[in-house]
Subunit: 191 residues, 2 copies
Amino acid sequence: MPDTTVVKNALLQLDRLAAGSWHLFEPLLQEVHFDTGDYLAHSGRISTAIYFITSGIVRVFATNADKEVSLDFAFAGQFSTAYASFITQTPSAVSLQAITPVTGFAFYYDDLQALYRKDHQVERTGRLLAEYQYLRKYHRELSFLQYSAQERYLQLLNEHPQIVQQIPVKYIASYLGIEPESLSRIRKNLK
Amino acid sequence: MPDTTVVKNALLQLDRLAAGSWHLFEPLLQEVHFDTGDYLAHSGRISTAIYFITSGIVRVFATNADKEVSLDFAFAGQFSTAYASFITQTPSAVSLQAITPVTGFAFYYDDLQALYRKDHQVERTGRLLAEYQYLRKYHRELSFLQYSAQERYLQLLNEHPQIVQQIPVKYIASYLGIEPESLSRIRKNLK
DNA sequence: CGCCGAGTTGAACTGAATCAAGAAACGTGG
DNA sequence: CCACGTTTCTTGATTCAGTTCAACTCGGCG
């Protein structure tokens, strides 16, 4: 039996009252494993799972013509999903890919919806998760509107050092909305 | 007694099941009015209300050093709030300002939280509202990462024509992440 | 050992910012 | 309803941050 404690702790961090409904939630978790390069979600398809990562790194990205942009990264202890597709049940604009071997737990749309209906506390946890996802995007919006590329990089270094330390430069660059060459020059400038 | 039907319809659009809990929700609504230039929320202060706009236009913006950037606009029939501050109950990075005379309804943090606890269906509506707010920010993120200033303007023209038609150029420019001069040239180019 | 993708560096170019000035629109008071 | 001052929008000239294209280095892996 896999150890789901880490998932429980993550939910409690969203809402300490989540403990009361954990017994409903836990049986729905499916242990998953992905090799480097595997896709957890595909653009153009409807995403039916939210993943909780227990080891490895996942990248969320969108492809447009010949360009690819990174929107997010998930590490051990975090949730990762094509959230827009998951909540709307429409085809996703983004893909999720394991950039290292990844282990985690999946829970699925239909299960979660049933639980939302059944249990007020789970619904509450779902609301808090949605609010949390909102906050992440809101901070990014402020960052793009207010700061230069170099300032955004410094902010990233400060607030998400694990991204800078563990993710290839080309992905960090597109996450910041710039080209790898520009990020290389920014880093050189700061030394 | 003010006509709150428009608020009810907006909630039903989020979730048609919301009708069942409308009787809990309605008594909490407070009719509000703001003159042009009035603030509905101040940066640095904790935001305690969500507004539903019944007439007029609200602008959401952040000030940084001497620059001011617009994050959002709300028209009649829409909700408007310093959402990040509202859900975290921490000081807001953004302000809300009426850019025309505004009428609407307010409902307050404590009332809403009490209702979340009391009623599963309201909790559900709160989740759907949070998911909707997420989707708005996500689309904006994709827009910034994938498109040039001109493309973002064309997208705005296409998806939110009322913004282009009714909002001063200087605010639209900062919403797109560019200077008014640049937007002026983009528009000239397109003629 | 040689290949290959990732990262860096250089040079030329470009989209957007900045600074400055003029034109148009707007509100206010006479 | 017009005249005035103020703000907003536009246009032009210049500068600058970031892109593009190309060449070179480095480290991992067959």
